[in-house]
Symmetry: C2
């Protein structure tokens, strides 16, 4: 998506350790108008899939999932998996361990069983896809629930990290709006 690529070129910062910092519009400050355009793009891509729920994980996936869900037919609800346990959370959850490179620690990703059903047709949405740990966790939760995963929508995929290509080779319908294939000396190269 050209608009997103231009935004990344303009505002993205490449930091040591293959970090692409895009918190001026994606995951700290949120450019809501750009998110609307991204949401419409996902709705177009997955319009044939009769999505019943959009699944993401807290915290940075929530804004994109919530805005995107508005553009789908039949008002799919957004379900966000949790990373930490609240005192008032039911113990009746699906769960899977996920390692976060951004925070350098493992967490337990959970969703309440009553909200993820065998009849659900799921679109997974997240802001970033690198090695694929978070998306893999969401796929495992859907597997536990017996829900059907109809697609994966990502804003920015770090193509050189391999997660995206692994999901494609497994047959998933993955739509990444911008795929960064290299960050050489601060220059960002997008996949064509």
């Amino acid at each position: 998506m050209k608009e997103l690529e231009e935004k990344i070129r303009k505002e993205g910062r490449v930091l040591p350790g293959t970090i692409l910092k895009v918190d001026s519009f994606l995951n700290h400050l949120v450019d809501v108008a750009l998110f609307s355009e991204m949401g419409k793009r996902f709705a177009e891509e997955f319009k044939a899939e009769s999505i019943t729920k959009v699944l993401t994980v807290e915290a940075s996936g929530i804004a994109l999932a919530s805005i995107a869900a508005q553009f789908f037919p039949n008002s799919p609800r957004v379900l966000y998996a949790k990373k930490s346990r609240a005192l008032n959370q039911d113990s009746n959850v699906y769960s899977t361990p996920v390692f976060s490179f951004t925070h350098n620690k493992q967490y337990l990703m959970t969703v309440d069983k009553q909200y993820l059903l065998p009849t659900d047709r799921i679109l997974i949405i997240d802001d970033f896809l690198a090695n694929g740990g978070a998306v893999n966790g969401l796929l495992r939760l859907c597997e536990q629930a017996g829900a059907t995963v109809c697609g994966i929508g990502i804003a920015i995929e770090k193509g050189f990290m391999g997660g995206g290509d692994r999901f494609r080779s497994e047959g998933h319908h993955l739509c990444s709006l911008a795929v960064v294939d290299a960050m050489n000396d601060g220059e960002i190269v997008f996949r064509q």
Copy 2:
């Protein structure tokens, strides 16, 4: 807001310890259509305020803030304060300690200094207001930045916890879409 009160009556569960569980539509599963109506209500309430940014805190405030921001003039961006430090986060942050009763622990609420400016006219949005710890943290961050807080928009206020009335007595323009004044034997009483 009648629609929200009806939803709380229908789907809310009162648990021991004055817990009101509304995760079937507010803070785990998200009813996007209802959130749109809440967002429009905030836009109407604060339309005269020339809001430049909508400020919230991860994770459960993000969906409401993002959807609400779409209905304001001049596309205000959403800024969400963080509760835990990512490895790629700048150290140049405003910060304040906040105690979470939901998780029974203290955390450091932060925003990057470059995204909260003295020229900003801020609308604070959150899904829940009880004793007011999270909103108070957001107010402190705005104070540190010299930003102007023009209003506070809340989905559900637990009126009997006192946080909301304290902010009102301090002169804040607080709009809570549903105020729960009592939860007696499981019966929910709304403020008129």
